[in-house]
């Protein structure tokens, strides 16, 4: 039944280019899809370990820059007279490297900040994103700074027996993003239902108890951060090769906020949440654009975030699931109490 819904959803998304011819809407769908992948990776941390990464765009941006630089090549002088010259590699290698490098950064940030969690993790991740943005802005020799990296090549994939295909137009990029999104969804879903996923949720719900049954806190959280960062890096790579120009503005804090709003609205800790929230907030600007100035839209988004937290603190998907769940399966749907105050947690611990 559940896989039936999933297959129907994928088929519905796959059929979109057959009846939607508007290039502007296609473009909105592709960037929305890329941001949904980013939101799914954020949800892995926020929804399943309870750690809010407010520098998530850093991993996205690092993925974008790594992928772009790998496929463009660079020639950079380092201190002490060293020089690194890199000749262009195929974009698909850039895609893989984007995941690896972003994952490594996730490892570093996790290592650094999971000793002091909660609010401090949030501030460390913001700081990390800002430092990366300043590096991208100031290391002009490598990143071109505010002049942006331009002419980033499109992704070329090798098809067995059919030669090579360069994904230039919107249709091809749409299916590429859809494929990566599906793989991401399956990956996160498998992960969450694995032993590791149970460890993550155990930590989120009752850390003392989880530790007492032998869950290694730092290891679990760091691994979650690595996977989450890697997926965000993949999304960034897709973005770079689709948009084909990136500048340090990709690291803007507002982009992280977009992902956070997508996850919170859709429902953190729910697999479908980021997709629902992402579709809403990815496509809303398309429809609001003729009637509202961008600033007014952002006022509304900030307001929506507040209202959702007050009215539907679980988010749309879990609230709907609760309403329509059969009494028997309701037990499974209820994962954790939502408004668990810090004080309560301390008293229970």
């Amino acid at each position: 039944m559940k896989s039936g819904v999933a297959i129907l959803t994928i088929l519905a998304f796959a059929s979109v280019p057959l009846w939607l011819r508007d290039p502007y809407l296609m473009n909105a769908l592709i960037t929305t899809g890329i941001f949904i992948i980013g939101a799914m990776s954020l949800n892995l941390l926020l929804g399943f370990t309870g750690q809010l990464s407010l520098g998530h765009i850093a991993f996205f941006g690092i993925g974008a820059y790594v992928s772009a630089l790998t496929s463009l090549g660079f020639d950079v002088g380092l201190p002490f007279g060293f020089r690194v010259v890199h000749t262009p590699w195929p974009p698909i290698v850039g895609f893989v490297l984007a995941i690896v490098v972003a994952g490594l950064c996730g490892y570093l940030v996790g290592l650094l900040s999971f000793r002091v969690r909660g609010a401090y993790f949030v501030i460390v991740t913001i700081s990390f994103a800002e430092v990366v943005r300043l590096v991208a802005l100031n290391w002009v020799e490598l990143t071109q700074g505010p002049l942006a990296l331009t002419n980033i090549p499109s992704i070329t994939i090798g098809l067995p027996g059919l030669g090579y295909l360069t994904l230039r137009n919107k249709l091809q990029n749409y299916y590429l993003v859809l494929a990566v999104a599906v793989v991401t969804y399956v990956l996160i879903s498998r992960l969450v239902h694995s032993h590791f996923g149970r460890a993550m949720r155990g930590l989120m719900e009752n850390e003392t108890l989880a530790v007492s049954v032998g869950i290694d806190v730092t290891k679990t959280l760091t691994l979650a951060a690595v996977i989450s960062a890697g997926i965000a890096g993949a999304a960034g790579s897709l973005y770079a090769h689709y948009i084909r120009i990136i500048d340090p503005e990709v690291f803007a804090f507002i982009n992280t906020v977009t992902m956070v709003i997508m996850v919170i609205t859709g429902g953190k800790g729910s697999l479908a949440g980021p997709i629902v929230g992402g579709m809403i907030f990815g496509l809303l600007p398309v429809f609001l654009r003729p009637i509202m100035a961008p600033e007014a839209q952002w006022i509304a988004y900030g307001g929506v975030l507040i209202v959702i937290l007050f009215v539907l603190p679980r988010g749309i998907v879990p609230s709907l699931a609760l309403r329509f769940a059969k009494p028997r399966s309701r037990v499974e749907t209820v994962v954790a109490p939502v408004a668990f105050s810090e004080r309560d947690a301390k008293e229970h611990a």
Binding site: Y120, I306, A339, S341
Partner: protein
């Protein structure tokens, strides 16, 4: 050497306003356990109040500062009453996300009302700086330093010498006991948030005329305030003052001797370094709530 002295002078001016920002945030963070993302917006708000009072209402420059403090106090109280009071008792993440929503909405509001073009405030001070041997400092910056020092002293006295301050400290130590002793905790929370916000607005009103005023100016100020709080330790006012000056020194030296492009990176590097080596902050006595 004279270059170094000049950096020290600049550090004092910058450090005073950073200390104001830090004190405001550390009070809110320490007493209410709220990660206040609207702090930067209040800073922007204070700067725009300065602009409006001086240029649109044509009132005296020196009167604009107290007006900005009052306006920041009112806006802070309004935020606390509408957003934070209903969320009392919910977890820190929920309040943090609500504050992010408020920040985005208010910053976009500033952009909508005042536009993205940077504005500067005319000041009554002479153009020619005060020259003291090898160093020079503008009269405006001297005024900023003096005003910031005065506000720091007032806040210190408020916290340490008044009944309200005593109740705030009691709430910080143990909310339940304070409540049993007859402290109106709701009132303390609102006052704390209002005082913290008015200090942020004062910092904005002071630094706004030194630089230029634009809607996103608060973003960096907010993260710098977080750096100062982390550096000085949670809820520690003296720590916030020293933290403010350390951050200012790091920025001045970083901009002077490394690269001016990385001036704003110093705050972030300090955050990262402190959390690696001394996560309780430099001056904290007790352990930090994780």
């Amino acid at each position: 050497m004279s270059e170094f002295l000049q950096h020290l002078i600049n550090m004092l001016v910058l450090g005073g306003t950073y200390a104001l920002l830090g004190i405001g945030l550390t009070l809110i963070f320490g007493i209410m356990n709220v990660v206040n993302f609207t702090h930067g917006v209040l800073y922007t708000f204070g700067a725009y109040i300065m602009f409006i009072v001086v240029h649109q209402l044509g009132i005296n420059f020196f009167l604009a500062l107290p007006l900005a403090v009052v306006a920041g106090w009112l806006l802070g109280a309004a935020i606390e009453l509408t957003l934070l009071r209903p969320l009392r008792g919910s977890d820190i993440d929920t309040t943090m996300l609500v504050m992010i929503g408020a920040w985005i909405a208010m910053q976009s509001g500033a952009l909508w009302i005042w536009g993205g073009v940077a504005k500067s405030v005319a000041t009554p001070f002479p153009e020619a700086p005060l020259v003291l041997g090898p160093v020079s400092v503008s009269w405006l910056r001297l005024f900023v330093l003096a005003a910031a020092a005065m506000l720091i002293v007032v806040t210190y006295l408020l916290i340490n010498r008044t009944k309200l301050g005593c109740a705030m400290r009691a709430t910080f130590q143990d909310q339940d006991t304070a409540s049993l002793m007859g402290v109106n905790v709701d009132l303390i929370y609102t006052s704390t948030f209002a005082i913290g916000s008015s200090l942020a607005a004062a910092a904005g009103a002071l630094l706004g005329p030194v630089y230029v005023i634009f809607p996103q100016m608060g973003d960096l100020a907010a993260v710098k305030a977080f750096a100062i709080v982390i550096l000085g330790g949670l809820g520690n006012i003296t720590g916030a003052v020293i933290g403010g000056f350390i951050l200012a020194l790091a920025e001045e030296l970083g901009a002077g001797y490394v690269s001016s492009g990385y001036r704003d990176a110093m705050g972030f590097l300090i955050i990262i370094a402190v959390l690696i080596f001394k996560p309780t902050g430099l001056f904290a006595r007790s352990e930090r709530v994780g």
